[in-house]
Amino acid sequence: MDTATLTEEVAAKTIPIYIMGKRYEVPETLTIMKAMEHSGYQYIRGCGCRGGICGACATVYRRAGDYKIYTGLACQTVVEPEMYLTQIPFYPANRASYDYESSQPTAETIYQLYPELFRCVACNACTKVCPMDVEVLDYISALKRGDVTAAAEISFDCIQCGLCASRCMGEMAQYHMAQVARRLQGGKIAPKAEHLEKMCGDIDAGTFTDVIEAAKVMTEDELKKVYTEREMEPHMGADEWTPASNHGLA
């Protein structure tokens, strides 16, 4: 059915929502982001991947008659009747600069960059506000006891939206501290992935250059043909199945 001919009976019911205090009627099936666009807002910034990963569309809202603060990503959260919302696409937070190469993979590195870490009183407002359900207090606690690895692992789902910093009574930028932890963990603590190092070496040595260069000059139809005719692992293939060509890899 053409959407232009939708009858009123099958069109989505509309509900009232309040964007920055102003009332709008929006279809009840929309996400907050779509509802804002439906209401006439145009995103130039404060909107990134639309897939719940980039952290640009953090949104704070309240429900009618409820003192609690709720949060969500505008691109992932469906509107509710009578919700009062605003997006907080950016939150000012101190981000220390540092020289990664010379940084020791210890919590002291983070203590020196972010001494305000020790202002934490374990109020847990950061965890409560996190739209990704990261246990923010737990990774801050891990850092306080010097456990960079635990902080990196607990904070893994962080999308750097900054809502934790917005609620912190210690005025900390938790997510920047966690990012240092993950960088130290990834580059200096976790065991090196030998196969990755080998693959990077193979790329540098030009193993795939011919394949890529050939693909660059193909027409769209030729590319589609190569893609559809590529060798695929059979659905019921034997465990020992390997592709006939690994493009020159040993």
Partner: protein
Amino acid sequence: MKLGYYPGCTLKTKAANLEVAAMAALDHLGVEYKELSRWNCCGAVFSLADDDLIHQVAPVRNLIRAAQQGCDTVVTICSQCYNTLARANKMVRENEEKRDTLNRFMDEEPDYSGEVEVVHYLSLLRDEIGWEKLRETVTKPLEGLRVAPFYGCTLVRPEEVAIDAVDQEIFEGFITALGADPASFSAARECCGSYQMLAHPEEGMNRAAKVIAAANRSAADALILSCPMCEYNLGTRQANVVEFHEGLDQVPTFYFTQLLGVALGLDPELCRLDLNGPAAQELLIDKKFIATAAV
């Protein structure tokens, strides 16, 4: 008893020599416990302001974590952790209004009303093992070692959470059980200088000097402690204190758990004597309690 162990931040970093031997000793003595898998800073200093409930959230949240993990008792080793947890627990038990406010504030956690018992490691040794049994378990009695026990402030103040009444001398019982001689020590319950060491170094050093002078007068071979801050002021900074005040002699410092480990004949590496500095290790080698220095 379902015993949980609350470590505290410093024991996981600078004060590993307070923790490692202690936990190995519990295993050795057959005490079942589990280390809390989820915890935060204890708060470090108990807030004395009557209306400052936000600083009670950290210790109470830890007690909630202990309850969530099925513990009815939680043991700590660090004097400051013991003090903040025990006092917060007492407050929750006795003050209904504050308990209610805290529970409402922490509405993401189950309500807590003081179900968990907070004990210090020394109390656990005395009450669950007993000095007599500990003495029988010791394989390397610390004979001829004169030990001055430093209680400091937070193990024994305020009285309602003190691990020991003034005349009970729990540390003395511990030292005797290890086969060592407790040195009568007039500064045992004085302040080490605390945070003044950073804010007002001269006053802090004066405090520490009093303690070291008293230890010298008692002819102690060693000073034992249970608090990382006391260890910083009386151990790590001792050379400065002795330099600053004439007539003081250096005295090696240990966490009490390290001497426990040595006396129980645990692997000396577990006692992390490498973190104490050379004088402490030399003393134990001289007395033939350990063979070689850890590096």
